[in-house]
Amino acid sequence: MTSIGTAPPPALELSRIAKAFGAVIALTNGTLRLESGSIHALVGENGAGKSTLVKIIAGLYQRDAGEFLLEGHPVDFTSTAAAKAAGIAVIYQEPTLFPDLSVTENIFMGRQPTGALGMIDRRAMHDEALALFERLGVRIDPDRPTLGLSIADQQIIEIAKAISLDAKVLIMDEPTAALSGVEVDRLFAVARSLRDEGRAILFISHRFDEVFSLCDTVTVMRDGAYIATSAIEDTTVDAIVRQMVGRDVTTLFPKTPATIGDDVLVVEGLNQPGVFHDVSFTVRSGEIVALAGLVGAGRSEIARAVFGIDPYSSGTVRVGGQLLRKRKPTAAMAAGIALVPEDRRQQGLVLEASVARNATMAIRRALSRFGLLTTGMENASARIWASRLEVKTNALDTEVGTLSGGNQQKVVLAKWLATDPRVLIVDEPTRGIDVGTKAEVHRLLSELAGQGLAIIMISSELPEVLGMADRVLVVHEGRITADIPRAEATAESVMFAATHSSGEAA
């Protein structure tokens, strides 16, 4: 603690913040020092306490102990409104917008410009929204409802909101988790210009390339405690990873070569107006095919159509030569397709149910005897997969909602692997999962391919795509614009295809 007489106090300073939820201790020593005009990265594995720290700064949680200074003055936020009023804006991982209201109203909700009789000045609000978007270099109709906007656009609205707040401290909790390529660049340009205006920015991310290209300083947390803060030029990815996990992580993407066999999944000429067009591809056994592309390009929609959740107007899907019926997920399951969805909390799991119940969810019919199902049967089946996937949980009757993201993902995988599938579709398999578990998921996928499973992996993370895939299919605006074999797949070739329509007339 050296104090320099004339230097301005840091924009935000937290020291020794502690927070417990009942018996669960989330934070023991949250320490963070944000300077104005600087972008500060906060990294750590899931469960390291980053989100709790953010929520304390945002006024959503109240700290149990520790010191919280804003521009040198101690503060005590009892609500998010108080933190906001003090100049702290938070962009959460999942955009929190009001779907029924217009883009403009979303930006200004609760602090709309008002005129006589407290009437909202819609004109002024509209113009200001336009000015904000112009400044951000995006074109979003300020009058449309936010319902149906891509996640990238929703993220932009969150940023516009933060800017219009004139926030001194801007916190971005994994803002790029749902973005890719161009959108990330756009976001970074905005973040840099905000930094140059003298704002303090806290950037939380699992992607090291982004941390290194964007941030000036990095703070590492582990197990609810502060580990280290270093200037970005004084540290390396390896050093940070070591600080995060407290051990060396050998390799992130351990794809092992597998023997590639016959065609298992053949998709031909799949069409759905407005969503995807003329989609044809083949996946062979033992092969990992990545579907790369920008968010909103239609990758998840293609996967959902193949699995029979979403409709398609023409085209065919065959598994092992057998034609699948449209819009019949049960038929797809019977033919041996498994789909691990992008949004595991909403679509992959029943959060209130136990690990065992979730892990046996897809085989309930087969598992039951005379239509009856006992917890014992569930546990017996779930135990096999839980141990094979190394799900870290005390007991099989633990509520899934209480597990970490990585372990939740393993439970979803276990659920589908129990059906003994031939084709496994995984949508963003490592979104929001920490480094250690990420490597485990990758190892697992690689192992499954080795056992002859045909795997389709949708991913927005280029290193993951390049590291894992035998073949990369790039989707651009609902069309497959490139089919790149592993040997030729580079960050440049994939990104080029993801941002350009294919050369030949489609």
Binding site: G59, L60, S79, T80, A81, A82, A83, K84, V90, Y92, T96, L97, F98, P99, D100, L101, E105, M109, G110, R111, Q112, T114, L117, G118, M119, I120, R144, L147, G148, L149, S150, P273, G274, V275, G296, E477, G478
Partner: protein
Amino acid sequence: MARITSLLKARETGILLALVLVVIVTTVRNPNFLFSPDGFRDLLLTPSILMLVAVGQAIVIITRNVDLSVGSVLGLSAYLTGRIFIDLPWLPWPTVFLIGIVFGGLLGLINGALVAFAKVPALVITLGTLYAYRGINVLWTGSDRINPSDMPKEFLALGTSSLAGLPWLTVIALVVLVVAGWFMRTQRAGRELYAIGSDPAAANLYGLKVTQRVLAAFVLCGALAGLAGVLYAARYGTVNSQAGSGWELDAVGAAVIGGVAIFGGSGTVWGAAIGAYLLLTINRALPVLGVQDFWQRAVVGVLILGAIVLDRVLAVRASRRLAEARDND
């Protein structure tokens, strides 16, 4: 120009057209429906009280809640109005309006407090208070009832007389509607009610005063039901322990028909008001058109289902259009 197209596209316009259509068809069948002196008056008068209740209901539904107790609140405050005239005859009669509004507001406050602090869904809470308030009413009234002779003439006249051709009740209902519509559209608090209904969790993260606003919506809804109770006494003159029973369903129905989304976040009080007119006008039109009595309830049901299906179709079309717009960008 953009204003006109958005007006044409508005959900409320469709309901209004349906209402006009019902009136025209019925009038062609029997000109007295509109053109007799009573016909025109009844057309405006009958739905006025329900309109007040529907406006309150719409405000609550917009916050992703519902108030099933409005019928019971209306009944209690109607009986209270009569009791005041009998027990406190020295009070100047216009004060009953104030008393009715405050009393309804208090009942609404009980609803709101239970919903906001007990964290139990409004559907369950207000189902409970529906029976509780009605029970108190039955206990208090017994087999007794208020008769027109118990109430001052000036008060009763209010229920039937007109101001420049418009029945007084309609004038009162319209004033309330205009104020509520203005509030919901132009005031921060009004917009926040929409935000809360659209995504309550996001509203919390925004730092909106969710509890306070929801509480206020229930108080407002109760107060309007209380006002409606006073007007009910003026209009019908007789009040027994069953006054207003079943009105909660008409009020919810009117809101839904008027385009207020049952899961909150969208719709307007204007729509709910027109919905109330459509609902009761159809009820009056069907006998004129020679539709048998027992079909009339079914028609109301079809209307509600139709409104919901229409909303769904519109929503699907809108989201498809938005998706395609993204495609062509």
